[in-house]
Every structure is written in C-alpha cells, then in structure tokens.
C-alpha cells in the first residue's frame, strides 16, 4: 500500500469531519444489490522486488532488437534514440503533467508543442501542423474526414499501396459517415496506378490518399497526382509511415499535397510492440479551422510577455459537442515531446545525414539480395529503407527458419496482399550493423 498515505488516525479524523461512522458509510448511494461483495479474482499484491522480477521474466519471453537482428519495418521502425530523450521525457514535470488547459502553469508543455508544430510543418512542407494524433492510422482517417468536411463530397480514393492497417482504420472510421472508399491499384514499379486514378476521379471525390513512401517503401513523385486531384476539385492527402525519408526526399508540400499525415514513431519513440505511436497532422492554413485535435498558439500575458495557449478550442469536442471536428481529447503529447527533443538533437544536418544513411544501407542490402540466386525484388521503384523481396521459398518459412539464427527477417505480405503472397517486406536502418547485414545475406543465401 505504499502509494496510499493515510494513517488509521487520519482516517478516523476525516470520517469524523465528514460525519459518517465508517468507510462503508461513504458508499451508501450504491444500492445494496449492486455492491460487489467478494474479493476481485485477480492475483494477490506483489512487492516491488517481486513485481520487477515478474515483469522482467515476462519481457524475457520476447525476442527484442537489442539481442536479435531485426529487419522489420512496415510502419514501425528501429532507430537509435539518444539517451537525453528518455532522460528528458522522464522528468516528472513533463511526464506527470496534464493537458495544458491552464496556460499560466503549463508553459513548458505549450512551448514544446509550439516548437513541435513548427518542426512538423517544416518537415512536411505545409503551413500548419497540430499538436498530435494517436498514430499514423487514425491521423489518416481524420485527414479524410477533414477533406470530406471542407469539400462537402463523399468519396475518398485510397491507394492500395497505403499501409494496409491504415486502410482498415480508415474503413472503420468512415463506414458510418456515408463516405465511400475506393481503392486505387499499384503498378509493377510499386507506384500509384495513374490511369486507374484518373478513371476513378470524379466530381464526388473529396480526396486522394497516397502513401509516401508507401507500404512497400516506394517513393514516387506525386506532383502529377496532386494536379489531377486539384483539377477534379479534390485534395491530395499523403500518409507517411516513415517520415525520416523526408530528410532527403521531396516533402509532401513541395509536391502539392493539401494535407500530410505521418507516423512519427521514428522520431525518438521506442517501437514498444507498436504503440504508442505519434500521429503527425499538417495541412494548408485555409483548413485550420476544420482541423481535428489540439493547436497551440502564441499570445501575450497581461504584462505583454510572450506565452503560449491552446487555441481554436471552439472546434473541439468539449465546446462544440456533436458538431466538433473530432472527438479526440487525450492523444500523445509526450511522444510529440520526444520527437521535438530528438529532432532538436539531430538538427538540420543530422536529420538529413541519418536519412541518407538509412537510404545507403538499405540500397546496399537491396542490391546484395537482388544478386542472390532465385531471389527477386518485387518493385523497380526507388525505395527508402524497406522493400519487397520475393524469395524462392514461402515467406513464412523463410521467417521461421531465420528465427533459429536470431534474425527477424521480414513481414510476410499474404495477409493483406494475396497478389504478393510470395513476398515479404524487408527493412534496414542505422541500427543494423554491417555484421548483421552480412549475416542476413548469408542466411538467405544458405536457404535451399
């Protein structure tokens, strides 16, 4: 009971002040028939020593990236997190603060979010970014809701090469709002099928959503897609599971995107079995009043000093009720803070160099794998740090065999793409040492 400060003496004094005889007397408004009378069927309390041992035992039943060679991407990436990031976000004043509703005592969180908004708008090449969404998948769904609201149209064209789980979330979010979602296929290069897109674009289309890079790691210039969408009166939304790519590749804004969303986990957040992530959301300024979620704005205090506050709250659920732009409330402010700190450490040059390093390493791996007999690379397009490999064997067998070598080899695609049932997605980042890459190539070469 180390979290509970009350002494018996204090409890007695407090009950006396309240005017009830015992603690049970405080629950008199719960009808007796609804009072829970047996002990909860959960395990008994553990001391801190046993608790840590138990959790350590559980954690040891997982293979993890510090002991295994991990070549998995697909929307969750292993990147180095500088020690200062974990140290700074663990400070109680950040970690245990609430949503900054009272600006006079929340300037730390508010200023950090203002810095985050600036960085995300810069990286995505758009005018405004909000103070975060749950993750890349829900940010993608919210982006379509925004497009539907501002365009007053009810159709969304979504690239089949968009992260499959993002597509699933989009369907869950939009099916009850009367929005139809149509898939646009991909080409042998792994790019968005332009003729199919042009055929599907019509006066009912609110937006086109494309992965950038897409789920297969393919990076393509979407400028012509933006033009086509705009010509039809629709918006271009880009969705980026690996925004580190934007250190070297054209930003969504530079290609004409109207809304750009991303999964910011790569910026200083641990993989943590896929969550929490960091939903990044940026758009043109003209849509800011329809944007879902929080925004921090600059202002002054009563003495004219610069300060920051939550702003445009009239879009939000607690004010606007059923007419709100979204129901989002608690999201992932601490993950946004981790991203802000990480990007401040990387800096302008580091961001570029780290992106370049990921590109170089994965290109090298891709070429070495392509040279193996019987193994092919699925798509000819430029890729960032991941790419689809077609081995001779069943991908699930390959993955299972390499587990014996402590290698987590790739993500089999059969579940989402029957047409790529023979493929698996392989990823390399700065965390994969030269030795790991050599062992991986050798292990694949050894397969029958």
């Amino acid at each position: 009971m180390r979290y509970l400060p009350h002494t018996d003496q204090e409890i007695r004094e407090m009950l006396k002040t309240i005017g009830v005889a015992d603690v049970n007397g405080l629950f008199s408004s719960v009808p007796d028939s609804l009072v829970f009378k047996r002990p909860l069927d959960i395990p008994p309390a553990l001391s801190e020593i046993h608790l840590r041992n138990h959790l350590r035992d559980l954690s040891r039943r997982n293979a993890h990236g510090e002991e295994w060679s991990l070549f998995l991407g697909g929307g969750c990436y292993s990147h180095y997190i500088p020690s200062s990031v974990s140290y700074l976000i663990s400070r109680g004043e950040f970690l245990t603060a609430y949503t900054p509703y009272q600006p006079e005592v929340s300037q730390g969180t508010l200023q950090a979010i203002f810095e985050y908004q600036t960085m995300m708008a810069e990286i995505l090449g758009l005018e405004v970014a909000n103070a975060s969404q749950y993750d890349g998948s829900t940010a993608s769904a919210e982006a379509i809701r925004l497009a539907v609201a501002v365009k007053k149209r009810r159709k969304a064209l979504v690239a089949r090469s968009l992260h499959p789980e993002y597509r699933q979330v989009i369907l869950t979010y939009l099916k009850n709002e009367g929005v139809s979602v149509e898939e646009i296929p991909f080409t042998p290069e792994g790019a968005l099928d332009r003729p199919a897109l042009k055929k599907a674009l019509d006066r009912e289309t609110a937006c086109v959503v494309a992965g950038y890079p897409n789920f297969f790691g393919v990076v393509e210039d979407l400028s012509d897609v933006a033009e086509a969408a705009h010509a039809a009166g629709a918006l271009l939304i880009t969705s980026t599971p690996e925004p580190l790519a934007l250190g070297i590749f054209r930003s969504p804004g530079e290609m004409g995107a109207d809304i750009a969303v991303a999964e910011g986990q790569s910026f200083g957040n641990a993989m943590s079995f896929g969550g929490p992530g960091l939903g990044v959301f940026a758009c043109r300024k003209e849509y800011v009043r329809s944007m879902p979620g929080r925004l921090v704005g600059e202002t002054v205090d009563a003495e004219g000093q610069r300060g920051f506050v939550l702003t445009l709250a009239t879009r939000e659920q607690h004010i606007r009720r059923e007419k709100a732009t979204s129901n989002i409330c608690t999201n992932v402010a601490l993950c946004a803070l981790a991203a802000t700190i990480t990007l401040a450490l990387w800096g302008k040059q580091g961001f570029k160099e780290l992106a370049r390093m990921n590109f170089d390493r994965s290109q090298d791996l891709k070429e070495r794998l392509a040279a193996l007999p019987g193994l092919r690379i699925a798509f000819s397009g430029t890729t960032f740090n991941e790419f689809v490999v077609l081995p001779r064997q069943k991908p699930t067998d390959v993955v299972a065999k390499l587990v014996d070598d402590k290698i987590l080899a790739g993500i089999p695609l059969w579940r989402w793409y029957p047409e790529l049932a023979e493929g698996f997605l392989v990823c390399a980042t700065e965390m994969n040492t030269d030795e790991q890459i050599d062992r991986f190539v050798a292990a694949l070469r050894r397969l029958p």
């Binding site: 069927d41 008994p44 950040f94 609430y98 009850n176 054209r250 641990a270 990387w346 780290l354």
Partner: protein, 490 residues
Amino acid sequence: MSTGGRGFQFQEPLLFEISREGRQGFSLPSSTKPRREPPEALRRLNDPRLPELSEPDVVRHFTRLSQWNFSIDTNFYPLGSCTMKHNPRVNEEVARYTGFAHVHPYQPDETVQGCLALMHALERYLAEISGMDAVTLQPAAGAHGELTGILLIRAFQTATGNPRRKILIPDSAHGTNPATASMVGYEAVPVKTGREGRTLASVIAQEMNEDVAGLMITNPNTLGLYETEIRDICDIVHSKGGLVYGDGANMNALLSKARPGDAGIDVLHINLHKTFTTPHGGGGPGAGPVAVKKTLEPYLPVPRVVQKENGFAVEHNRPQSVGRVKSFFGNFGMLVRAYTYIREMGPEGLKRVTELAVLNANYVRARLKDSYHLPFETGQMHEVVFSDKFQKENGVTTIDVAKRLMDYGFAPPTIYFPLVVFGAIMIEPTETESKETLDRFCDAMIAIAEEAKKDPELLRKAPYQTKLRRLDEAKAARELKLRFDFTNKR
C-alpha cells in the same frame, strides 16, 4: 531574446532562436556502405529549418521548459474527472525493459509470448474489475474507446436488423460523448439530469424507443454522484432493444466496490491513464480499453490475442468485427504500466484505492461546503462539484478562483464542467493525497473565498506568482500564430 532573465527567473527562447548554424547534438554511426544518390526528381528542394544545437543546449532548454510545468510530481493536481494520482516509477522502469521497448509488432507470435501473455492477462483483469466478459486493448485513449464502444453498438444493432438513429446522452456525461455519437452516424439526444443531479429512470423511459440504439451514461456521473437508478435505467433501455454504454473514466470510484457489468452496462471504456496510473504526459499517451458483455464480443476490433495449446497467438479472422481502430496492438507501453499497477495493488489494494479516493473527496466536500456553494446535497463518490454562486455576489467567478489558486501553489480544479452546473468547480483529490495536503488545499480555497469578499479585484487579476500572468486567449485565436516565424530571425 536573452537566456538570462532575472536571477533564477530565467527566460527561455524558442529552439529556433537559440539555434546556431553548424551545431549538432547527435553522433551518427560510421558506415562502410557506398554513398548513393536518390533520383534528382525525388530530392527534397528545401531542407526543413530544424534548429542546430549542441546536446547541452537541448538538455538545458527542455529542463528549463519542464520547470514551467505544473505536474502531479510537484504538487496537488485536483483536476476533476481526470484522476491525477501518483504515477509510480516502477511502471516507467518496467515499460522500458528492452524486452518490451524494443519489440516489433510484426514479429512472429512465438517471439512475442511475453507481450501476448501480458495483454491476455490484462484483458482478464479488466474484465473482472468491470464485471464484463471480454476486453479489447486496442483503443488509444478514452475518447477512442468511446468511439469503439459506439461502433460496437452500431454493429450489434445493424446485425439485428437496424442500426437505429439516436443515442441518448444525459447532460452529466463526459464532453466527448456527443462528438463520438455523431462520428458513428448517430444523432446525440441530450437527456436532462434530475434535480438531485442524477439520471432518472422515468425520464429514460419517456425518451427510450425503438429508434434509440443506446444510452451513453457516465457512472459515477460528472457530478461525482453514483447513478442510483442505474439498474432500472439499463432494464428500460434493454427492454426496447437498446444497449447501454458506460463511460468508465470514473472507475477510480468503483474498484472492487461496484462493477458496471453487474448493473447492466453492456459496453464500457476504461481510461488506463486515469485509474491505472499511467502518466498523462501533458496530454497523452493514454489507453482506452473497451470491455463488453458476451453478446458484443464477436464485434470487437481485430486482431485478438487468443490462448492456444502451445501458447498465445494473434487471431485476425473475425468476420463480425467492427474492424480495426488503430494500427498494431494499441498503446502497448501503457498496457505494461497498467498491468504493473494492478499486480502491485492486488484485490485488497484496489479496494483500498477506491475507499480512500471517496474518503478524500468527501473530506474536501465537508471542509469547503460553507465557503463554496454545493449544487447537490447528496452523497459523493470520488469527486465533488461546487459552483461560484457565493463568490458571484462579489463579482468573482470560477476562473478567478482557479487563477488565484495558482498563487497558493495548487493546480486549479476542472472548471466550467460539467455544463449542468453554472460556474462549476470540480475537484477530484484521488487516494494518493494525504490529509495534510488536503488540509493545505482546503485552507487555500477558504482563504480565497475570504479574499473574494474583501478584495475581489485581487482575484480578478490573479495569478501573480506564476511565470506568466493571465494569458490573452482571445488574441491567440484572433491572430493565429501556430508556428515560429522564420522571417524575423536574424
């Protein structure tokens, strides 16, 4: 802008203002891989204007910013309906174990047995605590859990022939509820709270019909009152084919004392970041698992963790599922923290949590009831709502009381919520606060009530002891500045 300030009352410019060209706070590993050139047509045109700083610059900047934040680690944070309780550090430590932090969601099932075992057990514990049959851990926050819950109701109603059109929402429910109902294609129908601050079965009986898919109810409600007629309310909704959604944000009042499932609730979200001590992080991450009765289990989001003969597995094929509400497995890091807390407390500990949380709220109520107006006279659970009715006589309002409280070193309570109480001041002390802390807080609140009588102007200009004085929120909305303006940089 200088980084000096006055003594320890330092100023802290923005990162972009302290940036100096050529600085870097990051060391890149060396690589023997050849340099490659991305195709010209794909290369970024303008580099993002990220700041250029050394590691000491960054550490000092964010350490200073942290010091401008109020937090539960620094003092009492009596924010109603938000359950700002102590965040145990052991939770943080175990969530950072490499075997949890460096695990990828697409690893083969046999390599993530620890994660799956933890999730499976946490689902069972939450089902037992809430009196429900099955749990999904996927939703990322309370409002996300609400969305999932209403999607489940819609899926159930659609499967039985008709999704129906409306959702009833008592006015004492949480602010996110109407927005959620509308996102799932429902019309939110407000229901008036009775004079005692509770939802009345007789009112629900009038509003309930075959057009209503369900009712969203918060229990204890946002006035901190247990809905005494909950059983009858659930029966009425069920009798017309509706389902009852429980907003479980206030579970801290119920642990081991009463279970929503036993009262007839069909679907409930639980805010792990409130009751189960995962830190609020300045606005998240949270986690909003959803617990359901057996009838709704087939509709839960995919994937599900299932126990098989040779261990745990992830099951994707569930044809009746509402789909997926988030990528991967939810906010796993938060699940580790909540699991750790439940194992730390055990059944007796959790019961004690609720008893002391309710004791603390009633103690604050007893100590402040002569200084602040109590709109409702009935028994209180884990939080208490006052109004500014007494202070208004001197032209002092809730916001002034809240701002003045900062000068006494406390975070303001939740204000102007719930909407059913004009000038609401909503206080939730939680069980981790001692009697001394509550006494210091109550003394401050009483002193402020006295100041309101003697010197109302003093309150209207508060706070005085914070880094910044009262901020101009209207200006921020009028002259939107949402990012740093690089054109003014030297």
